[in-house]
């Protein structure tokens, strides 16, 4: 009888996260991880999203019962705030991790997904470095023919804020939000906005994996189905 001596398979999200890590590591970005169960402060207030601000409705949040204002994090930006508090600039970092949104599920929406957020702080950073970094990233991840463009948008934690689209396999796709870190957020993180500036971005890894590999339904990532995983 033949034994099962074959190798196993990494989950496609792991493969994409590793790819992302290697690309940013080339540019000097380090990785930081943080808790999935976060405080309201780190998930909202520190990111310039105070209570009753309409921006809070931009993200559907899971709140935890019987605690002092805890949430399942809706983005990995809390990790960036914690990083700013404990590291002196200049630095560049990415924060990959699981995030949660309280919204109805379908083929492109799940209650949990993976994000990676990036943050680069230095004396002379501008939107030109943001564009250059993101172009470098997408070309390495998806191929040299990829094009990139910015569209005006709004996030409470960046100003200016942009939506980032990429041109891939014949279509323009919205993939990411980005911008220059808002001075209030820098101050909250203990960084002097008169001396330092930086950019930040956030991208959904599930979406990138679906774009790169042609996977049709985001829910397949989380039901433990090896008919997906074993293809990788």
């Amino acid at each position: 009888m033949t034994e099962n001596t074959d190798k196993g398979h990494l989950h496609p999200l792991t493969i994409v996260i590793r790819d992302i890590y290697i690309i940013f590591a080339e540019l000097g970005f380090s990785v930081a991880l943080g808790p999935e169960l976060e405080t309201e402060y780190y998930n909202f207030d520190a990111l310039n999203i105070p209570a009753n601000h309409p921006a809070r409705s931009m993200q559907d949040t899971f709140w935890i019962k019987d605690t002092e204002r805890k949430v399942l994090r809706t983005q990995t930006s809390p990790v960036q705030i914690r990083f700013m508090e404990t590291h002196k600039p200049p630095f560049k970092m990415i924060a990959p991790g699981r995030v949660f949104r309280n919204e109805a599920t379908d083929s492109t929406h799940e209650v949990q997904f993976f994000q990676v957020e990036g943050l680069a702080i230095d004396k002379k950073i501008s939107m030109a470095e943001l564009k250059g970094t993101l172009e470098y990233f997408f070309k390495k991840l998806l191929g040299h023919d990829v094009q990139l463009r910015f569209r005006p948008s709004f996030f409470p934690f960046t100003e200016p804020s942009v939506e980032v689209d990429i041109f891939f396999r014949g279509k323009w796709l919205e993939v990411m939000g980005a911008g220059m870190v808002h001075p209030k957020v820098l101050e909250t993180g203990g960084i002097d906005p008169q001396k330092w500036r930086g950019f930040a971005f956030g991208v959904g890894i599930d979406r990138l994996a679906m774009i790169k590999y042609g996977i049709d339904d985001v829910r397949r990532f989380y039901n433990g189905d090896l008919r997906l995983v074993n293809q990788f």
Binding site: M1, T2, N4, T5, K7, G8, H11, P12, L13, T14, R18, Y21, I22, L27, G28, V31, A32, L33, P35, E36, L37, P54, M58, F62, K65, L72, K92, F100, T105, V111, Q112, A120, S126, M127, A128, E129, L130, K131, G132, Y136, R149, F150, R151, P152, F154, E159, P160, S161, E163, M180, Y213, G214, F221, Y222, N223, G224, D225, L226, R227, Q231
Partner: protein, 425 residues
């Protein structure tokens, strides 16, 4: 927010760009146009106005102002939103906008853009002093102005500058998580990511999406059990003798949030497989397997504690392979299994036999696996090899009928038998 092209035109002396062009200008300079609908000779835009501009942009007059800002077209009778009085001012270094955007924009051009937004610019003691009209009291700090200038100037004109290559410190937890994954893959385990929100746990959600998804998972075991059962049903389709899965993820108890490693193995030899695998892990990652229980085929351990005791890594030596190719959609229709065994002359390879089977069976054959192989010497002195294959049939479009499968197997059998000296058992 819905707005009519014809209504907007009434604000302007000159002809507006055609609707498609106007939508494009909006999208690249102020807001996303989520939809356009033709109604008679009019076009209705669905503008996605975000919270930061809601106070002045959720009106036709406000959108007309944006058209002026973007195109420079003059508004009939001036700006209806502009009221004298209540102006505020913002002071910034003269090069602030250029430094933020990363492109040199002349002061002349900055003034011309801001003038179209009723923002006055003057210079005093080497700084720019901006006078902000009351209807734009959302503009409070220099970065707000950098955004106003940048979006009108055009983000396309911002150049691309890349950081030079450099090294960064390695995150210890991230490193060891990835190393452990590689060891497990080497031991035949496949990785799963399961749901953090379940129907039971120690931490409850205040506003769950569903009544059976209202707790944070306190362990990985429950999810792994379900995933094992699910995959065991598909074992033949996957071509696996036993199912081996693992997850590395966070669990939540009243004591806090912890990083756990969970393993699950199916089948009668599960306990042995787990024991062997854990011994490999324990050796490489320095933990003790003495009091661990592998008997149930599922195993879970606090990985954070283990990683804490490991040394700081200095080199990223995690495997990296380029995965390309397009994923094959999973069929929702059931699969069927048939076994076939054939005696072939000694010199015939497995690959030759497989080739014939695959060719004759066609696309309905989604998986083929060798499950048996042995040599037999016959009374006439000839030695032959028997190869036993498990064939898995499945269609992407329908449930296969028995007769279809019987017919396919029969075609394969004929093809094998027609080879010299081969016979199907």
């Amino acid at each position: 927010m819905l707005v009519s092209y014809n209504e907007l035109q009434t604000y302007f002396v000159d002809k507006l760009p055609p609707p498609e062009k106007l939508a494009e200008l909006f999208t690249f300079h102020v807001f996303e146009v989520e939809g356009m609908e033709k109604r008679g000779d009019d076009t209705i835009f669905d503008a996605k106005v975000l919270p930061d501009r809601a106070h002045y942009l959720k009106s036709e007059a406000g959108i007309a102002l944006e058209i002026r800002a973007i195109t420079g077209l003059e508004i009939k009778g001036g700006n209806t939103l502009y009221k004298k009085g209540g102006e505020t001012s913002i002071v910034m270094p003269t090069d602030f906008i250029s430094k933020t955007l990363g492109v040199d924009i002349s002061q002349k051009e900055i003034e011309s853009i801001l003038k179209r937004m009723d923002i006055g610019v003057s210079e005093s003691k080497g700084e720019l002093v901006l006078t902000i009209p009351s209807y734009r009291n959302d503009l409070k700090i220099p970065v707000d102005i950098a955004e106003e200038v940048g979006r009108i100037y055009d983000y396309e004109k911002i150049p691309s500058r890349v950081f030079p290559n450099s090294k960064a410190p390695i995150n210890k937890t991230f490193y060891y998580i990835e190393k452990i994954k590689d060891v497990l893959v080497g031991e035949g385990f496949s990785e799963v990511y399961l749901y953090s929100i379940k129907n039971k746990g120690e931490i409850e959600i205040e506003n769950p999406l569903a009544s059976d998804k209202d707790h944070l998972r306190a362990n990985l075991t429950d999810g792994l059990k379900e995933a094992l059962e699910f995959n065991v049903k598909n074992a033949d389709l996957l071509g696996e003798n036993d199912i081996r899965i693992f997850e590395i993820g966070n669990v939540f108890t009243k004591k806090g949030e912890f990083l756990h490693l969970g393993l699950g193995v199916s089948g009668k030899k599960a306990g042995d497989t787990l024991k062997k695998t854990l011994e490999v892990l324990a050796k490489q990652f320095q933990f003790d397997t003495a009091r661990l229980d592998f008997s149930k085929g599922i195993f879970e351990i606090n990985l954070g504690d283990i990683i804490e005791k490991l040394p700081e890594p200095h080199i990223w030596d995690v495997a990296h392979s380029e995965k390309t190719g397009i994923y094959k959609p999973i069929s929702t229709y059931p699969f069927s299994v048939r076994d076939i065994a054939v005696f072939v002359p000694e010199n015939i390879s497995i690959d030759k036999v497989r080739e014939i089977i695959e060719k004759r069976a066609g696309p309905l054959l989604v998986h083929i696996k060798l499950f048996d192989e042995f040599k037999k010497t016959f009374p006439d002195g000839k030695t032959k090899i028997s190869y036993g294959f498990r064939l898995v049939f499945q269609s992407k479009e329908r449930t296969l009928s028995d007769s279809e499968i019987v017919e396919t197997v029969s075609r394969v059998t004929s093809a094998l038998n027609s080879q010299n000296g081969w016979n199907v058992r």
